[in-house]
Point group: C2
Chain length 333, copies 2
DNA sequence: CTGAAAGCGCTTACAG
DNA sequence: CTGAAAGCGCTTACAG
């Protein structure tokens, strides 16, 4: 019921109503303690009365901190990152930070566009799960905020990285499967560096332990539940039938299990399956899925802690934070 | 390799280098055609040379259009909205619009906070899947942009709505199941208005067609794959065993199917299952899941078309866009 | 087709 | 603890 229904109240309106300067209102809003108690009360009342909502565009421009963070993920459906991103988004919202969501798909061009957009919005940080092309790396150099790569630990990150060793994860899975007596693994590898490193780690360790040849098949990105059908059909045409299928995601593993069961195979007795990521479905599937747990909430916390330190002008504690991983042996292998 | 490596180039830098005013550069950037060809070329070169990335905070403040849209969804994991949101995010990115992602969870307070944040960022539109509390509705009144509710068609939307009739969807499912000869449905209903409307529609139609009692059980929001286990266990304790379980999402349906199969039941012969949403898993599950298809891409397109019209100052074509739905009979029922 | 200039709504040294 | 004032980097009537 204001006099000017078509205009959002501004700092000025609040200041006039409270009988102080805009500077004081601004201070109160950003750091209530620096203002005298009596003044604070008057401002508070004025804010309530006007229904003032600060213009964060103006605030960001003036302070050159946007309180906005870009999160770049490949896609939404059946994504292995969803739990991490969910934890991230909740944490960020709690600290008053807005999340700009970028879906990179699988083309580097889209990634570059999104990074440009993020820079244009002067985000405080970019959190990325995307691979870094050399062109993208060039762009990132011009980014004044904090660039955080998650779910991986590159040699020489342009900003910081919070992740784990995919190679070691691959090794652990190989060791585990050999110890369980499996002999003929089929590796389902998605394109992309990370999947490749897990593959390399797996093959290395498998053969170091005296395992024989490792069969492999590629799967499109994003690897999802529905791919299980094709993978299984392909597998059936192999000369030598594997005794365990190692998948790059739990969704894919779930798909393979469903197909195997539909074909009358018992999992894990006749065919074992391993997933990756410990998504929520992994523990609820029948049989429950043996997988590698990545602590998404921890990745989120570490990333956000780094953003906070960066905002306070402190240098990062370390350029690479290794959050590790944990093989979870369940029923499927 | 600039002289001032620590400063992002501004419009001014570009203007000086191109030998024109900032106004002209701005015009070129926003609408290249209004600038003379020769001038355009010089500006282009200057932009390239400086590596200029426009500050969208400043642009948004000056023009009072942010080219940013807030998308509010309950959560990310196993979400029935993911395909819609994915289509939306891609379309928006194509038109140079940034997506602010808000995870509302299930508390109205969080929704209100996110709407405040969106208003604070002066987003051009808010696209929401969240239920509208009366307090939220109050907030929305002060939002100068376009408020779009999707996946539902409220009586009297504060902005516009793009969705379908949940009641009719419930009715259609009831009719379909009766025609297939099912007699003892178990309805798994999530909290929330939309699920409630489907429930009402189902029961109405079921009984209008001479069906008997309808058994029901509630499930927590978000309804997800893992809930299938509990639902199935509960079902087994019922005095009268249902012949079909009607679920509020395909993920939940998938969970019930997995549990039923683990218990040795054949789906659909011994227990049929119906999902909702036609998520990508529905067509790939074994058996494939009978479900209700919602055209998420169409919802996305309609929403974005409305935003575009709004940006051009045109009034919305209609306050409610009914995109309908389509029952897809597959193997599971 | 282009420029000079005001203005968008904040923040933040600086001074008191 | 508070205010006056400059400035953040754009856009956009207005005039020519």
């Amino acid at each position: 019921m204001s006099d000017q229904p078509n205009r959002n109240p501004t700092l000025d309106d609040v200041a006039v109503l409270a009988g102080v300067s805009t500077a004081t209102v601004s201070r109160f809003l950003n750091n209530p303690k620096v203002v005298a108690a009596a003044t604070a009360e008057r401002i508070q009342a004025a804010v309530a009365q006007t229904g003032y909502i600060p213009n964060l565009l103006a605030g960001g421009l003036a302070s050159s901190k946007s309180r906005m963070v870009a999160v770049l993920i490949p896609h939404l459906t059946d994504s292995i990152f969803n739990d991490t991103i969910q934890a991230m988004a909740e944490e960020l919202a709690n600290s008053g930070t807005t999340v700009m969501m970028g879906l990179t798909g699988i083309t580097p061009e889209r990634t570059d566009e999104l990074i440009q957009a993020a820079i244009g919005r002067r985000v405080d940080a970019i959190i990325s799960t995307a691979p870094l092309s050399s062109r993208t790396a060039e762009l990132v150099k011009r980014f004044p905020g904090l660039f955080i790569q998650i779910w991986e630990l590159p040699e020489d990150p342009p900003g910081i990285a919070v992740g784990f060793s995919h190679r070691d994860a691959g090794r652990d899975v190989a060791r585990f499967l050999q110890s369980r007596g499996y002999r003929r693994p089929l590796l389902v590898t998605a394109q992309g560096t990370r999947a490749g490193m897990r593959r390399d780690g797996f093959v290395e360790e498998w053969q170091a332990l005296g395992g024989g040849d490792v069969q492999e098949t590629m799967v499109d990105i994003p690897s999802r539940f529905g791919h299980g059908r094709r993978i299984f059909a392909e597998m059936r045409r192999l000369d030598e039938q594997p005794d365990v299928v190692v998948c790059g995601s739990d969704y894919l593993a779930q798909g393979v299990i469903v197909e195997a069961q539909a074909a009358g195979l018992r999992v894990p007795d006749q065919l074992a399956v391993v997933g990756f990521g410990n998504s929520s479905i992994a523990g609820d599937m029948r049989p429950t899925i043996t997988t590698v747990d990545i602590d998404g909430a921890r990745i989120a916390r570490e990333a956000i802690a780094a953003i906070r330190r960066h905002a306070e002008g402190q240098p990062p504690r370390e350029r690479s934070v290794d959050v590790g991983f944990r093989l979870i042996a369940r029923e499927s292998a």
